[in-house]
């Protein structure tokens, strides 16, 4: 009475590859946006601060799944028609990027004012202060919360099921269609695979933090 695990592996593997692809692309988009909006909200120019704050407030307030539906189903009516992959990556990237921006902002402002003043005293320029003094110290602070955020990102990639992008979750549903009787085992296996990927993410995050914080 054991389940035909082996028959499921090819499709689950295909699904996992798509899930990882969506996760990686969304991670790139979200990290770029986090840096832009995070640093933007600290910039000298009020306009930049305003735009960054507006982006963070807006995309933290909207529901990711509703945003995904809007991007995939409603945008074509504005002549912007994205493929499932692009719609998923854009929605997840925008949403997670807003949370990432908050992490960047709080980590940078947590670096003590004294460091900034020491940089001024040595006549370092604004950019030099940010790149050589503030960011390296803020980066260490960012890694743990960003690790958790990437796990949130991985979890939200499962939402591409709703726009029928055949990621891990959707392939599992197709498997369920073919192996209905084994549904509990399929979903159990699905949970396990997501757990394994999440554990890899938190492992990488811990290693990265240890490497960056050698000076502590």
């Amino acid at each position: 009475m054991n389940a035909p695990w082996l028959d499921w592996l090819p499709m689950l593997l295909d699904g996992t590859l798509i899930t990882i692809q969506v996760a990686l692309l969304s991670a790139v988009v979200s990290i770029v946006l986090s840096a832009l909006a995070g640093l933007g909200s600290l910039s000298r120019y009020a306009v930049v601060r305003l735009i960054s704050r507006a982006y963070v407030e807006l995309f933290r307030a909207c529901s990711l799944l509703v945003l995904l539906f809007w991007v995939y189903f409603a945008l074509p009516f504005l002549q912007i028609e994205l493929s499932k992959l692009m719609a998923g990556v854009l929605a997840i990237g925008l949403n997670i990027g807003a949370y990432g921006a908050e992490i960047v902002r709080s980590s940078v402002s947590a670096v003590s004012g004294g460091q900034r003043e020491a940089g001024i005293a040595l006549n370092l320029s604004g950019t030099q202060r940010m790149l050589r003094v503030i960011l390296p110290q803020a980066a260490v602070r960012m890694v743990p919360p960003f690790g958790n955020l990437m796990i949130e990102l991985l979890k939200s990639t499962s939402l591409v099921y709703f726009i029928t992008l055949s990621d891990l979750t959707y392939e599992a549903m197709v498997l369920r269609n073919n192996y209905y009787v084994w549904t509990p085992y399929i979903f159990g296996l699905l949970l396990l695979i997501y757990f394994l990927i999440s554990s890899c993410i938190s492992l990488v995050s811990r290693l990265l933090e240890r490497r960056l914080a050698v000076w502590r």
């Binding site: 590859l17 692309l25 770029v32 074509p76 029928t164 269609n177 073919n178 209905y180």
Partner: protein
């Protein structure tokens, strides 16, 4: 789609790809011949169009389309998985070029898409708990018992037939896919589940659950007095008359040569499910 997962990186790429394929007004068939492949929309429903165990696209509608397209000079068929309720929107938005999901022809849909002639005609079917404790033999019987719940696929024609037979909204458990319907019946969340005949047959076999049973003497629902025997067909964009005509020509050849019946039988259909000589135009109330 799984094979060519080109890894697109960085935001500019996203914007570049945002222009979408608006596709000129050249006829979809000629374009497909030039490209060597055509993309079809399907909703993963057995036995019409679904992915089998090793992920290949098959099913009654798909196999028929493959044969006809081969003869029309289009070698490869790529599947674009879409939820049933979004198939027509997807076709209009040119996410794919034809719908091969064994979609029923009805007036509303004829306004949005151009149907080829029907490939099969089938009635509805009903599954209940073994022994049919509630004696449900038709949609009107369900309407008669207000606390009875029936699982039905969201957006499917059965929803309209149920409403036409007096079944209220609250009695219907609208589910996203076939398996959810089976689960609803098995778990007792619903007292019955309804699908087209072959689909119900294949789901019951897959579930292999002796506590479920297909209602043998099920009376087909009546809509405006007419039996609502459904006709499933391939669908094209309204602008694709030429494609539809070419497709119909090949389809009628398959009917005469008996090829159509061979394919249908592979998926659990019988002679009764042949479309006879019904045409899309009639069914659209033309």
């Amino acid at each position: 789609m799984r094979k060519a997962f080109a890894v697109l990186v960085a935001v500019p790429m996203l914007l570049a790809s945002a222009c979408g394929n608006n596709g000129g007004d050249t006829d979809t068939l000629t374009q497909a011949k030039k490209q060597g492949y055509i993309t079809v929309g399907f909703a993963n429903e057995r036995p019409y169009a679904y992915k089998d165990e090793n992920g290949n696209l098959t099913g009654e509608a798909v196999e028929i389309a493959k044969v006809i397209l081969e003869r029309l000079g289009v070698k490869e068929v790529k599947g674009e998985l879409t939820e049933f309720t979004s198939l027509i929107a997807g076709l209009q938005a040119e996410r794919f070029d034809m719908i091969t999901a064994g979609m029923f022809i009805n007036e509303d849909r004829c306004k949005a898409v151009k149907f080829a002639d029907p490939e099969y005609s089938i009635g509805e079917a009903l599954a209940v708990k073994a022994g049919n404790p509630l004696g449900l033999t038709s949609y009107t019987a369900i309407a008669g018992q207000p606390e009875v719940k029936v699982a039905v696929m969201a957006g499917a024609v059965e929803v309209d037939y149920l409403k036409a037979s007096g079944v209220k909204e609250e009695q219907m458990l609208q589910v996203p896919d076939q398996d959810a319907a089976v689960s609803a019946l098995q778990s007792g969340r619903a007292d019955a589940m309804t699908m087209t005949g072959p689909a119900l047959q294949s789901r019951l076999e897959a579930a292999g659950d002796s506590s479920l049973e297909r209602v043998a003497e099920f009376e087909q629902p009546l809509v405006e007095g007419k039996s609502v025997r459904g006709y499933g067909a391939t669908a094209f964009r309204l602008s694709d008359e030429a494609f539809q005509a070419a497709y119909n020509a090949e389809l009628s050849k398959m009917k005469e040569s008996g090829e159509l019946l061979d394919i249908l039988q592979q998926f659990g259909f019988t002679e009764q499910e042949l479309p006879q000589d019904a045409t899309a135009e009639q069914l659209c109330g033309g």
